[in-house]
């Protein structure tokens, strides 16, 4: 299921070591031993991290080459970044509408609106899909 796939990508990147590994793989493919070098952990531990990244679809390992280098699936990584960017743009759109609202308010406005009725009013405040 796609939502789970996205979650796997996010949670795979929730770990700092795995993020670091991904960052290094953006430069070039690397073997497990090469990846393990800078860390004070066993090759087995690095393999475990790689398994998580692999399950998330973020990296792949060549079956043919003897060194079996790890390769970053940049497309999956970009896709996730695009998702965040799309969310950001949506928030920006919302805040541009807020910019317009703020421009219409007097500078000395009371920050607290007149006390509303606690219960739903008979005529709720509503807006059409306005620009």
């Amino acid at each position: 299921m796609a939502a789970d796939a996205l979650s796997r990508v996010f949670s795979a990147l929730a770990d700092p070591t795995r993020r670091d590994m991904v960052a290094r793989l953006t430069l070039a493919d690397a073997t497990v031993n090469e990846l393990a070098e800078p860390y004070d952990v066993t090759v087995q531990a690095v393999s475990k991290h790689l398994k998580v990244l692999e399950d998330a679809g973020l990296v792949s390992r060549s079956r043919e080459a003897q060194r079996r280098p790890v390769h970053l699936e940049a497309e999956v990584f970009d896709l996730m970044t695009k998702w965040i960017e799309r969310y950001r743009r949506q928030a920006e759109e919302r805040y541009r509408r807020l910019d317009d609202v703020l421009r219409s308010l007097p500078e000395d406005i009371d920050p607290v609106p007149p006390r509303p009725a606690r219960q739903p009013s008979s005529k709720p405040t509503q807006t059409g899909a306005k620009r």
Partner: protein, 160 residues
């Protein structure tokens, strides 16, 4: 995971806790920004997605108060509600946020309003949800246009 843009909305998806932080600056006073977040007449003008009709059922923005609003599109209704945990005019709003379709799941939202001089105000909105899955669904939600296509593309990529 951070996306930034000068002057524009910044989104930060925290890697360690299921949290999303949005930072934005406005050419307005703290009082104006606070009012636009608490006055239902104003909220309906900007909060809801453009293609939905937003109806505020009630919006009692004070410590201990509550709110409820409904988004409506083509006869389909999506209700949202929450309570105001702490409200300090022109400064802070701490509230819960729940989609009525999943009432057991609740997000904790904090809105900080800061004066940054020259009549400008910085708004920092954080939303803490109860799981990474929830956060990621939150990030993926509301992106009506393109999100399905995006999922399909991810499916294709992952199926390879």
């Amino acid at each position: 995971m951070t996306t930034t843009s000068t002057h524009e909305t910044q989104i930060i998806a925290d890697p360690d806790v299921p949290l999303v932080r949005i930072v934005r600056e406005f050419d307005a006073t703290r009082e104006q920004v606070f009012r636009a977040h608490t006055d239902p007449e104003l909220i309906v003008q900007w909060l809801g997605p453009r293609d939905l009709t937003m109806t505020v059922d009630h919006y009692d923005c004070r410590t201990g108060g509550s709110y409820r609003y409904v988004h409506n599109r083509d006869g389909e209704e999506y209700g949202f509600n929450g309570t105001f945990h702490e409200v300090r005019p022109s400064e802070l709003i701490v509230q819960t946020f729940s989609f009525e379709g999943f009432p057991d799941s609740v997000a904790l939202e904090r809105l900080m309003i800061e004066d940054i001089g020259d009549g400008r105000t910085r708004l920092t909105a954080t939303s803490l949800v109860d799981s990474f899955e929830g956060r990621d669904a939150f990030l993926a939600s509301g992106m009506e246009t393109g999100v399905r296509e995006g999922y399909e593309r991810l499916d294709e990529l992952l199926a390879r």
